[in-house]
């Protein structure tokens, strides 16, 4: 792998255009991520289809830049407007905004930015060291283990969807059922097409992904139009911003602990930065000698913890995506779609067959964070101004970009209709309290689940027994059952003793 990393570095060193693309991706990611309602998932959803005709390295340079920039950018909205730019910065509002409101805007932004970048860089190291080892281990997996991992993924997401466990499982399975439409290599025929020729190739995943995530979000965003936003009045001073670096580095234990939480949560499928920043904030508060000062904008660790964790989740989320083909969160789901568009199939064999591509992803991840560090110093003033762009201009333009992105993939209107249909389905699900991510994950992992189950039945001569007799498969199934049983048991316990629920 070291040779491939050196090769990737050489490609970047001899090709300044690629570096410029990473920088452009980071800059646009920072701007998009800072605007409330425009998440990293949406940024990637808009960009992935447009990279279809690009060379792999060019596409990855741009996408990794946007991915890293958009997650990092979320903190600006949280600190300046008290509205997180992305869900991954929700906990940053708790102390970032109060600190800025006290006239320490530059300090709050500095702490958030430097913690983000250090957290991201640490997760990059975890990615480089853990991913190849996990890929080696995954080579020993048979179809039973793969199928068990996919089932485990669905149940893990469901168990983290508090109060929606059953609904999450149902929509994940619905996604799998929808993925059955079209051609199956297992039977060599198309199924469930109802005579519609456009369905022969199956439902296009990217338009469905874009529609399911973007349209509901844009519809919800229209509620913010005309709302009065409390904006921090203090001026941004670069010197104060840079001085925060010392404060961040001096809290090294908070940094390391939060990064480890972020990496760990990121590796879990379907969870991602949204949970890691809240968990890490809670952990920092529990470990603090002055927990009563949390929420008042007095302590730097109350901003360091959520920001280091949400960026650390990014490297963590890339680990299962690259090694097993199972995305860690919605943004990596988009990246998975991008890799598939470029005929790169994530999984353990990726590290053998396309080690150069993997190394390029690793290197661009680090370089994107380096650009984040540089560009924040120049762009932060501009980003703060961009936050004032009214939502009524953003919403139609973003939807137009979604439509264009879906159309250019195959130059056919059917994909645009798919985008609208999945968008409306996504909105209906969201309005009824169903999580959307499991459905989309089901749609993406459905073909893999079908293929692995078919192989498992073939090799097992029609028997399901190897799923429980093979040690690794049995262990994964056991862990899955535990992950489902714990939240159910907790709920029953709280229902049985109301005082427990009150103390919660």
């Amino acid at each position: 792998m070291i040779n491939y990393i050196a090769e990737a570095l050489q490609i970047l060193a001899t090709n300044p255009a690629l570096l410029a693309l990473i920088a452009a991706g980071v800059a646009s990611g920072l701007v998009i991520g800072s605007i409330p309602g425009l998440t990293s998932t949406m940024a990637l959803a808009l960009l992935v289809p447009l990279t279809f005709s690009m060379d792999f390295n060019v596409a990855i340079a741009l996408l990794m830049g946007v991915y890293c920039g958009a997650i990092s950018g979320g903190l600006v909205g949280a600190i300046v407007l008290n509205i997180p730019g992305t869900p991954s910065s929700a906990a940053t509002c708790l102390d970032g905004y109060p600190m800025a409101a006290k006239g320490q805007l530059s300090r709050a932004l500095g702490i958030g930015v430097y913690a983000s970048i250090i957290g991201g860089a640490l997760s990059g190291l975890a990615l480089v060291f853990i991913a190849p080892a996990l890929a080696d281990f995954a080579l020993t997996f048979g179809p039973w283990e793969y199928f068990a991992i996919i089932v485990c993924t669905f149940f893990t997401i469901a168990s983290f969807s508090e109060g929606q466990t059953l609904k999450a499982i149902a929509v994940a399975l619905f996604g799998v059922c929808i993925s059955l439409i079209g051609y199956s290599s297992g039977v060599g025929e198309s199924r469930f097409t109802f005579g519609i020729s456009e369905l022969e190739g199956g439902i296009s995943v990217m338009p469905a992904l874009i529609g399911a995530f973007a349209l509901p979000q844009l519809l919800m965003d229209t509620d913010r139009i005309g709302e009065k936003v409390e904006r921090v009045a203090s001026r941004f001073v670069l010197r104060d911003f840079m001085r925060a670096f010392g404060e961040v580095v001096s809290r090294r234990w908070t940094l390391v602990r939060s990064s480890l939480i972020g990496i760990g949560i990121g590796i879990l499928p379907g969870v991602g930065p949204g949970l890691s920043n809240i968990l890490s904030y809670g952990r920092a508060r529990a470990a603090s000698k002055t927990p009563e000062k949390f929420g008042k904008g007095e302590l730097p660790e109350s901003i360091i913890a959520p920001e280091a964790a949400n960026n650390a989740s990014m490297g963590g989320a890339l680990i299962p995506m690259l090694t097993l083909g199972i995305p860690g969160d919605a943004s990596t789901l988009m990246l998975l779609g991008a890799l598939t568009l470029h005929d790169i199939e994530p999984g353990p064999l990726l590290f053998l067959d396309n080690a150069d591509s993997v190394a390029f992803i690793f290197v661009t991840f680090f370089i994107a964070f380096a650009f984040c560090a540089i560009l924040y110093h120049f762009l932060i003033g501009l980003i703060i101004k961009v936050l004032a762009v009214p939502t009524q201009y953003i919403v139609p333009v973003i939807f137009m970009l979604c439509v264009v992105g879906s159309y250019v993939l195959n130059n056919r209107m059917f994909d645009v209709y798919c985008l609208l249909a999945f968008g409306m389905l996504g909105y209906l699900l969201r309005s009824a309290g169903y999580p959307i991510l499991p459905m989309v994950l089901g749609l993406i992992l459905g073909p893999m689940a079908e293929e692995q189950l078919r192989l498992a039945l073939e090799y097992g001569q029609g028997s399901f027994e190897p799923f429980v007799t093979r040690p690794l498969s049995a262990a994964i199934i056991g862990l899955t059952l535990i992950s489902v049983a714990i939240p159910i048991w907790r709920r029953f316990r709280h229902a049985a003793s109301p005082e427990l629920s009150e103390n919660r």
């Binding site: 509620d223 130059n411 409306m424 039945l457």
Partner: protein, 160 residues
């Protein structure tokens, strides 16, 4: 919320049942499998999904029995949000008119109409509305057609 929850589950279940009726029509061109019929795995997933959706419906019904908030009110409240409804309508029209009107005409109509319907102070925002509409449409067209060398739907309503 719970009536909506059940309605969505029933809708998804209907889709699953429709797919289920197609299972018998699945044929295998390769006939490679000796241990499972071509419809075995789809039946497995469709059944699992059907059971899960039935469980959601039962769970929602049980919760309703326990009492709770008025079921249809949140849905009606959502539908009453005029901006959401306006944007959803213009978005649907944009998708439907994209093919006959082409990208440029339909985008200009969509963006300007949406901004007009969503904005708070219409008179003051008209010049910005026009600017945003034209710049966004032209920029996207140039990037896609010239930059990415791809195609976008052309105007074809009058046989063009």
């Amino acid at each position: 919320m719970r009536i909506l929850e059940s309605l969505v589950a029933v809708l998804l279940l209907a889709v699953v049942i429709v797919l289920g009726f197609q299972v018998d029509n699945i044929e295998s061109a390769t006939q490679v499998s000796q241990h499972s019929a071509p419809g075995t795995i789809p039946t497995f997933f469709l059944s699992a999904c059907g059971i899960a959706l039935c469980a959601v419906i039962i769970q929602a019904a049980l919760k309703r029995k326990d009492g709770g908030e008025s079921q249809l009110l949140p849905l009606l409240r959502t539908m009453k949000r005029p901006r959401r409804l306006a944007f959803l309508t213009t978005a649907c029209l944009f998708v439907l008119l994209l093919y006959p009107l082409g990208f440029i005409v339909s985008s200009i109509l969509f963006i300007s109409l949406t901004i007009l319907l969503l904005c708070v102070n219409r008179r003051r925002e008209t010049p910005i509305n026009i600017l945003v509409t034209v710049v966004a449409t032209v920029l996207v067209y140039v990037i896609v057609v010239s930059g990415l060398e791809s195609h976008l739907p052309e105007f074809r309503l009058l046989g063009g």
